[in-house]
């Protein structure tokens, strides 16, 4: 069984009640479990400790301990000069963050959700993403924009949009989206260390979920390379790509598909831009089928790019048309039953077996082979 070991370290000030929560190695060799929240918090803590140029900025990141408690304890530990509570003025404080990055500091700007980043999107795209290019390398922008992205639960249309495809279409940005605690730690650390502007898309509903992490993940030097997807589950019948929360759904769907003899390979994208086309295409060349899964709007989404890439690079290997599973093409409704229809569910992913590709002769053969041992050839 998994042993949960956690040691609290008291912050500098003993008057404040909350200490910085830090994750330490235990001396047992059993895997530990940490929540995504703890993973993000520890990553921020370690990067701030390692580099005095790193500072945090955003609404409620300081005294409130973070709207979602991601920055808990950091104000006490690092002080108000490095953990800055801002007024509710995204355009202003994002511009200030980018300006500080021009000068050489390393800001981590939090958007309470990425919906609010639209107020500041000019600074993300025009002031941050394009500056290194327009200045021919004089002005690099080592900034991270982070916060929850996509659907939460019952928060309605204005608070539920996924911005992955918007940001990922822009050259000059790097766009990351972690799924589990290992991703959260490794990708956030990589993002903070990266000299380019990084949009870091978290998921509110994953913050409280626990995942096992190895000692290597807990080490303060742990980092995940940007631009590399992870094969979460190997398979040979269909490639399912996903990111963030949908990785969990895809994995559950894969378990169910397994029972029907369909072995799905689940790819956790981790990095939306740069997109790991190599891993995706290699997988499709092996499985001959592609299904992309995302929570966001379908038109011009992440899945659209992946499908195009696979059709361009691996057309000859496809046994069936590429398929996209995405959120419904409507603003997010509030009523629970409608909301459920607006976001992909595990059942939607399992439905791929009903699609044309899987009823084709070649595939049925394979299933029959796996299931009954009667070989048609």
């Amino acid at each position: 069984m998994l042993a949960i070991a956690r040691q609290r370290i008291l912050g500098q000030s003993f008057q404040k009640i909350r200490p910085a929560v830090s994750v330490l190695r235990s001396y047992s060799s059993a895997a530990k479990k940490i929540t995504v929240r703890e993973a993000l918090n520890s990553a921020l803590d370690e990067e701030m400790s390692a580099d005095p140029k790193v500072f945090l900025m955003g609404e409620e990141v300081g005294e409130y301990q973070g709207a979602y408690k991601i920055t808990k304890g950091l104000l006490e530990k690092y002080g108000p000069e490095r953990v800055l509570d801002t007024p509710i003025t995204e355009a202003g404080f994002t511009g200030i963050g980018v300006g500080a990055a021009y000068y050489g500091l390393k800001p981590v700007v939090e958007f309470m959700t990425f919906n609010f980043s639209m107020q500041a999107i000019d600074h993300i795209i025009n002031s941050a993403a394009k500056s290194n290019y327009m200045s021919a390398g004089q002005i690099s922008v080592p900034i991270v924009f982070r916060g929850p992205n996509g659907a939460a639960a019952g928060v309605g249309a204005q608070h539920s949009q996924c911005y992955a495809s918007w940001y990922a279409s822009c050259p000059g940005l790097k766009v990351l989206s972690p799924y589990n605690s290992e991703d959260a730690r490794g990708l956030l650390k990589a993002a903070i260390r990266d000299p380019d502007p990084v949009v870091f898309l978290e998921n509110e509903l994953l913050y409280g979920e626990s995942f096992p992490v190895s000692d290597e993940v807990l080490d303060s030097s742990f980092c995940i390379p940007i631009g590399k997807a992870k094969i979460e589950r190997e398979g040979k019948d269909v490639t399912i790509t996903a990111f963030s929360k949908m990785v969990g759904y895809a994995l559950k769907a894969a378990e169910i598909l397994e029972k029907d003899g369909i072995h799905a390979e689940v790819i956790n994208l981790r990095s939306i831009r740069p997109l790991d086309r190599t891993t995706i295409n290699a997988s499709v060349r092996k499985t001959n089928r592609l299904v992309t899964v995302e929570e966001g709007f379908p038109q011009h989404g992440v899945g659209a790019e992946i499908c195009a890439s696979v059709v361009e690079e691996s057309f000859a290997y496809l046994d069936a048309p590429v398929e996209r599973i995405a959120g419904a093409d409507v603003p997010m409704p509030y009523a629970a039953n409608l909301e459920r229809m607006a976001v992909p569910q595990i059942e939607d992913i399992i439905q791929i077996q009903e699609s044309e590709g899987y009823n084709s002769f070649a595939f049925v053969d394979t299933v029959v082979c796996a299931g009954n041992a009667s070989v048609n050839n």
């Binding site: 202003g92 200030i96 963050g97 600074h123 002031s127 327009m134 200045s135 390398g137 002005i139 050259p171």
Partner: protein, 393 residues
Amino acid sequence: MALSRFASSSRSGSLLKPLSSAISLRRPISTDTTPITLETSVPFTAHQCEAPSRTVQTTANELLTFFRDMALMRRMEIAADSLYKAKLIRGFCHLYDGQEAVAVGMEAALTKKDCIITAYRDHCTFMARGGTLLEVFAELMGRQAGCSRGKGGSMHFYKKDSNFYGGHGIVGAQVPLGCGLAFAQKYSKDEAVTFALYGDGAANQGQLFEALNISALWDLPAILVCENNHYGMGTAEWRAAKSPAYYKRGDYAPGLKVDGMDVLAVKQACTFAKEHALKNGPIILEMDTYRYHGHSMSDPGSTYRTRDEITGVRQERDPIERIRKLILSHDLATEKELKDIEKEVRKEVDDAIAQAKENPVPESSELFTNVYAKGLGVESFGADRKEVRATLP
């Protein structure tokens, strides 16, 4: 108090200087540094602070340097006008002639440790920060020797080693960016300030007030400089701003209204502002200035203002003429000597243009450079994805 005459014969050697050397603005002209006391054209008007004195100290050396620098900028912008009409410059070209005193006066009050950030009317600000004519013309013509290697264009000049952060095309965006620079200076304990320039058009941008609010809350050493040339593109200030008293628009932040056509007043105000910002946080300077050209080369500039108005300003308030009159009335140089400087400057500009015209356009591979500081070996594509692909280093 005999002032040494400016000797024109000592200048002839400069014409033989090799063109490959950077043509800088800082040439010694008169070396006389005997202080001269003068008054600015008008007193400063203050909001929430005590105005600095209108009595300023200068020297012959400084005045002649101002004259030369402004004459160079004037000549450069007029030459850019011709190049644009000859289709050697494309796209946007926003010219600064008339506003030279702001760039020159500000630079005289600052060090290179202080940061400057401005909008798209940036050619002269770039020069004041130590840029060269070749870098300007090559960039405008999209050549390799441009300050952004031809990849930026008119609106995207940068000179990071002089703390000049551009060059921004989105109206108003440069103000929060400038406050961010000031934040970083304070964070790094650099004892320096940032001047964030914007126009009367940008003065109504919400993000400006957001950034000013944060700067005042956090005591950032930010000076917001409104270069009020009275027209936001084709819209006169009274049609765009309910309150065109831009120096007062900071409300809780102090402000100063300055004659932006008087380089000595600009210098005095910037010196005052720098001192203020280091101690007390943000301050606004409104420079009352004027642009002779339209908003850009696409705008004749005469549909929303009368030709009489433009010639009137040229006759009454031109910044270069003001300095010329000062130099002549104080016997710091003869008319001929000043004309010689203008001829010299004209030649420098012509030489730089000739050099820029010979300069090659960027290599095709430059399409894919600098997308990222760290490309991670990622693939990027051109329009024909099969043919044009590159790995980003």
